[in-house]
């Protein structure tokens, strides 16, 4: 008999060893709610904030229902604001039969492709932060959204700039993501309608650090305001470098800027006076929010703006799951659709047929004394 070469043996042994190591998970009476967001990387803070909110809601639900026959569990997956990873995370959630609903994702560029996966699997999905309007226009009945949409946020921002600030010349910058570009485009469209002069609209790349060349190019046209559609890491760098180049224009953005990390990265002195629209108002004014804020700060420390949205999203799902007569995905989805309205810590939430929140509230925030302070509602 011809000998099988040693390399073949090595090949075989390794193959069998590797595959022998897979195990199946034992059954537990656990209902999982997924949380998909950027948990590592430059946008980790807002992702972590969101998932902490989800975790808090789940812990509180377990405490309140200690005697029930099942237990809630949070399952957080990282998508690193990368659409392909978001799709992978979605597939992981779908494959896990214990997962009955998902809070996710954070970035619109991730939520959009993931929503197709969830829709196919009849898995309920609530996003706490994706504001791009196109996602709900796809007609997926599994998609729900707690936050407002950019076709409302952008124009309201433009309104504020034109009417309240009486600004004439604006330069628009975006980070070319689904969210940033969408928001900036909506802002620009409405601003033009209101007679504001748009000096230019340029894109930057997420992850880039040096914008001094772009800002040097903008400086001579002397804008009154620079509007940035994008997220806080780039936003902070933009405003810092603008000030270093002696550009005195005011700075404004959308909900992607609204986090204490923005102020920290830009330094409070430079961040002072920055405006931002936010999908929601001043949480501190709502009585229901006070309990949430103190509970959150006890467990996780400083509250991030997005923690509340994760919290509300999770709580709506918990309500739906508790109401569902059978604990499976289709019944949970139906129960979701039957919730008439929900009082959350971020305000009232009523879903329309597309899954959007009818009670869209846009607030204007301004950085004052090192904190994002609520100015008032955008008209």
């Amino acid at each position: 008999m011809k000998k099988i070469s040693s390399s073949s043996w090595a090949f075989l042994i390794i193959l069998s060893f590797i595959t022998g190591c897979g195990q199946g998970t034992p059954e537990k009476p656990v209902i999982k709610i997924g949380c998909a967001a950027p948990l590592t990387g430059d946008q980790a803070q807002i992702g972590i904030d969101t998932c902490h909110g989800v975790q808090l809601a789940i812990d509180q639900a377990n405490e309140k229902n200690a005697s029930s026959s099942y237990k809630f569990e949070a399952l957080s997956l990282d998508d690193q604001h990368n659409p392909a990873q978001a799709v992978n995370a979605a597939k992981k959630f779908v494959a896990d039969r214990d997962v009955l609903a998902v809070v996710g994702h954070f970035n619109s560029s991730c939520t959009k492709p993931a929503s197709a996966i969830y829709h196919e699997a009849r898995l309920t999905q609530v996003t706490a932060a994706s504001t791009n309007p196109e996602i709900s226009r796809q007609g997926f009945d599994t998609f729900f959204r707690v936050a407002a949409t950019d076709d409302v946020q952008g124009p309201r921002g433009a309104d504020f700039v034109a009417k309240k600030l009486s600004i004439k010349k604006v330069f628009v910058i975006d980070d070319k993501t689904t969210y940033g570009k969408g928001l900036a485009d909506e802002f620009e469209k409405e601003s033009r309608k209101l007679g504001v002069i748009i000096l230019g609209h340029e894109g930057i790349t997420q992850g880039d650090k040096d914008f001094s060349s772009l800002l040097t190019k903008i400086a001579p046209s002397n804008p009154d305001l620079i509007y940035f559609g994008g997220i806080y890491p780039e936003g902070a760098l933009l405003i810092r470098q603008a000030r270093a180049l002696n550009i005195r224009a005011a700075f404004m953005g959308g909900d992607g800027l609204v986090t204490p990390v923005f102020i920290q990265l830009a330094t409070p002195e430079i961040a002072e006076g920055t405006y931002a629209t936010m999908v929601g108002g001043d949480m501190k004014k709502l009585p229901s929010a006070q309990e949430f804020i103190s509970a959150y700060e006890k467990h996780y420390g400083k509250l991030g703006q997005w923690s509340a949205y994760g919290y509300d999203a999770a709580n709506i799902l918990i309500t739906a799951i508790q109401k569902a007569s059978q604990k499976d995905r289709e019944t949970v989805l139906r129960a979701m659709r039957e919730i008439p309205k929900f009082e959350g810590v971020t305000g009232e939430i009523v879903f329309d047929e597309k899954g959007d929140n009818q009670k869209q509230f846009i607030g204007i925030f301004k950085v004052e004394k090192g904190e994002f302070t609520y100015l008032g509602p955008a008209e």
Partner: protein, 339 residues
């Protein structure tokens, strides 16, 4: 000379060898691999696990492709992810704009990527060793940035959505692969089998030997009449074609493509796979891809340590066993004495 019994088995083996052109050890490995691939879905029905195997399969294709360039021909390529990206985006674009379905799309993206690879090879024809590696890296980065910036064509950082999945026209019924993992599983491993077979045959062909020649000593090879230019170009062409079909499968499976999936880490991963498995060795490429694709899944609890351990493993591997698992102690790429 070994004594061989001349029974009926001997003639069967000889015929089989004549048929496929491969030797016994390859047949044995292929048999076990086939059996494993066929049996696996029967034992493990977890759709996520099947999905992981599909990803492993795609990386097997990529490893096989890079192995042609780096392992067989000895040309160091640090930007292979760009080829992968071109294949994926090529299918995405022709599918979205011209409605070309998956099966012809597979060949088209293969050829487009092959062309891309050959265009990239032009500077490679003159450069050597280190500089070449950096040039390929540069091209890899340029491709990724271009995909990110040309947003009107490529969708920018958000990428492209709504790519068609493969469909098969059965009598009375159009079967769409959709988002289930099983059909991709069989598709991918069939491709792996076809490509591996083709590459194995290529090894003993004139082109395959020419690659070995230029890998070992370019100067001597050209003196013996090997046309360096064409041989190098064909390595990039074939390596490119394989990456192209891998990319096409990836795009069709995901339904979306975005630049983030094709960064430098991916290029390094694939390189590590073939180095781990043994450079220049077709089975090595398959094994290396299999191990490195599955490792992160097995280390699931250690997710954050994954890349750290990967880095350490690479260092140790080079110090302790640079020829990989199935490699022979051959001269890896160009040694210090050649230019």
């Amino acid at each position: 000379m070994k004594q061989q019994g001349l029974g009926a088995g001997h003639y069967k083996k000889k015929r089989l060898r004549k048929l496929t052109g491969l030797d016994i050890s390859d047949h044995v490995k292929a048999f076990f691999l086939f059996t494993f691939v066929l049996i696996f879905p029967l034992f493990d029905k977890n759709p996520y696990h099947i999905d992981v195997m599909v990803t492993a399969g795609i990386f097997m294709l990529l490893a096989l492709g890079l192995n042609v360039i780096v392992g067989s021909a000895g040309i160091l390529n640090l930007g292979y992810a760009a080829f992968y990206a071109v294949g994926a985006y090529a299918y995405a674009l022709i599918n979205l704009h011209f409605k070309i379905p998956f099966w012809p799309g597979l060949l088209v993206s293969g050829f487009i990527t092959a062309l891309f690879g050959m265009l990239l090879a032009f500077p490679a024809l003159r450069l050597g060793g280190d500089y070449l590696a950096i040039v390929t890296l540069g091209f890899g980065e340029i491709t990724r940035i271009a995909l990110n910036n040309l947003d009107r064509i490529t969708g920018g950082p958000n990428g492209l959505l709504g790519i068609d999945h493969p469909t098969v026209q059965l009598p009375f019924y159009k079967y769409d692969f959709g988002v289930q993992s099983e059909p991709y599983y069989f598709l991918v491993f069939s491709l792996v089998a076809i490509v591996a077979f083709f590459l194995k045959r290529l090894e003993s062909s004139r082109l395959g030997r020419a690659w070995v020649a230029i890998r070992e000593d370019e100067l001597a090879a050209s003196c013996m009449g090997v046309n360096l230019g064409w041989v190098k170009l064909s390595a990039f062409g074939i390596g490119g074609f394989i990456a192209g079909i891998a990319g096409c499968v990836f795009a069709a499976k995901q339904g979306t493509v975005s630049p983030d999936s094709f960064d430098f880490v991916v290029s390094v991963m694939i390189l590590a796979m073939i180095v781990l498995g043994g450079l220049g060795n077709v089975w090595g490429a398959i094994l290396g891809a299999f191990v490195l694709s599955l490792l992160p899944e097995l280390l699931r609890g250690f997710d954050i340590y994954r890349m750290l351990l990967f880095g350490i493993a690479m260092i140790l591997m080079m110090i302790l066993r640079p020829q990989g698992i199935l490699g022979r102690k051959i001269n890896l790429i160009q040694s210090k004495t050649s230019s």
